[in-house]
Symmetry: C2
Subunit: 418 residues, 2 copies
Amino acid sequence: MTYQALTPETLADYLRGVPALQTLLGDLDALDIVEVGDGNLNLVYFVSSRSQPGRSLVIKQALPYLRLVGEGWPLTRHRADREANALLQFGALCPQHVPAVFHADSAQSLIAMQHLRDHIILRKGLMEGLTYPNLAEHLSTYLAQTLFHGSDLYLSAAAKKQAVAAATNTELCKITEDLIFTDPFEDNPTNAYNPALPRAAIARVHQPEVRLAAAQMKWAFMNRAETLLHGDLHTGSVMVNPTDTYVIDPEFAYYGPIGFDVGLLLANLLTAYLSQDWHRVQAGQDPAPVQAWLLGQVAAVWDGFADKFTALWAAHDAASATSFMGSARDEASQRLFREAFMQQVFHDALGFAGCELVRRTLGLAKVAEIAGIPDEAARALIEVRTLRLAEALLLGRDDFQFISEVIDLAQECRTLTL
Amino acid sequence: MTYQALTPETLADYLRGVPALQTLLGDLDALDIVEVGDGNLNLVYFVSSRSQPGRSLVIKQALPYLRLVGEGWPLTRHRADREANALLQFGALCPQHVPAVFHADSAQSLIAMQHLRDHIILRKGLMEGLTYPNLAEHLSTYLAQTLFHGSDLYLSAAAKKQAVAAATNTELCKITEDLIFTDPFEDNPTNAYNPALPRAAIARVHQPEVRLAAAQMKWAFMNRAETLLHGDLHTGSVMVNPTDTYVIDPEFAYYGPIGFDVGLLLANLLTAYLSQDWHRVQAGQDPAPVQAWLLGQVAAVWDGFADKFTALWAAHDAASATSFMGSARDEASQRLFREAFMQQVFHDALGFAGCELVRRTLGLAKVAEIAGIPDEAARALIEVRTLRLAEALLLGRDDFQFISEVIDLAQECRTLTL
């Protein structure tokens, strides 16, 4: 069948042709089909049985253009294959944090997957001031499992090179290259500034030293094929409830630097932190408890990730005849390498976090917790703090040793005034 | 025709089937065909017309095993395609320094190319104490032209990603990964030590800090897909005469870090420098003049490469609507980025040079100017100096700012005694 963007009507017909999905859903004549896609790129349908409420699934179909902009920004549908492959690979590594894939159809650029019925988008939960007791524990497990197993530390050199070539994802990488690393760092027409944001605050991140840092992070993003990344791991790509955490939407998946996913996630926890000063106060609440919890999550995501990644690596080396360093049983060298390696990933993550913070403030695709603040002056205050945090991370990334220093910095930026 | 390793007899038959080569050679019934392959991987024939001495060419054919070791180390012949592609690409960028390709046959893993009749292998010339007035000028041009034009600084992001995927060269990269970055840094059975070399000298480069540096350079080699490299740019891959310089044998070509080719070349100029204390003295000559010339070449290769690479980059940015950094005409930021970028390439090159120096001393594939010194004690002295230079480059690579500091270091290492 040639590709066709599905409507609720044609989707029902499509489901009839896939026995596995029929079995999952039961009665195909009594389905609720709702389009819920609020992302930038795809159609997303919730499909559920009216008679048997437990039976449901999600259908995600790639559109041949950037939904955020419209048909004027065409995109191939290639990304649906990238997403299906990434979901399968990440799901095999940590099934408890990745939605199950029931069916993937390359011709229709379509994936049928687990419906996370009792979960909400993490970004939304955080904006409401909700906290999740297992969040950092789960996300650090996800990061360590996925980022370690795609790398040369685990795979054979041949398997890794094959995986790199197979993960080429030119179009979606281009979006990241432009919208995270380039446009926000100059006065580009794709940017959108809050009118109340002082010009001087924007000019600070358009200074040569900050632009240098952004260009270096862009170079790292485009050249360092270290592991299969999610590629877009912000808090809108995480679904949660008090017990579960799922990472969805890896259509930007490609081989890139290990610190990229980590950095994007940390940056989005930091925008959640800084923006509570508006959202909690609006809700008549004290922001302090949720802010303290959020900074605790920043620390626990990094430390948990670093500990688990290192543990996976050490266990793999101990169980293998040869490791990345060679065949000698030389624990002193291996420990030294692991420590230096994790320090480098930390610095990379902070640099990527800095870029993400700038783009979420000045760039085309913003974050709801900041862009959604209706009071422009109040929004500008949060934006100024976010940009200062970004600047300090970008310029100082190689000087940080512990995540506690990042937390101190975030607290300091939170006290800035316009 | 299925693949067949050619003999002088079957090669003559083969030539009859390729009109372009017939035209080049003229009378196919009066050919001199000599097998001259002294490399590790291939058959190499010089084919010349007996009646018309100006007519000749080189036929290079990949063997399905590592010639150095024998049929017990099988290799696919895939590398012949890599070499043909690299010769064509590099040749288009600087035809004056790359042999012309007349014919490439993927099925026979065979390339017919320009016969460099009046040229010798640079390593041989340097061992004889010869100097070449244009060497650094030519090699720095070659390096700048080839390394710049394969990178994201010149290519569109899409073209670059396609080029990366097309240049996958798993088997030959594995040789480099093992024989340059891994085995020499531990007591691996592939190593071969001069019996007169003190155990303590070997132990110094098997220390955790040096192994850490080697592992970091290996990580860079395996993960940083920055540009299409020659991949094996030692002085045995360069052919010279007093006026010309050609870079041959790019079968290890793949996308890797810009500093790799530069570092390998610098390392091989440094082994030429250190080994003159044997070769010139043996020939009853003063080593000082050729050593001074060699250190001058080290400086001129680096400085020439850095200047030309930067100039190509600046000219490209000036002529383009957008550059790697964006669309803003912001010369201050671009200059800052270029300087930081070249400094990073310099540090990388020194790290790669350090690895190359260790492997050429302790590893499987050595260099004739050191391994060919028959007096074991005299050889050990040169080896100790080479290893100390390597160690200082590996441990201090990020602290060097100018090539003059490397030259001071090399001169200092030259005074070491056993």
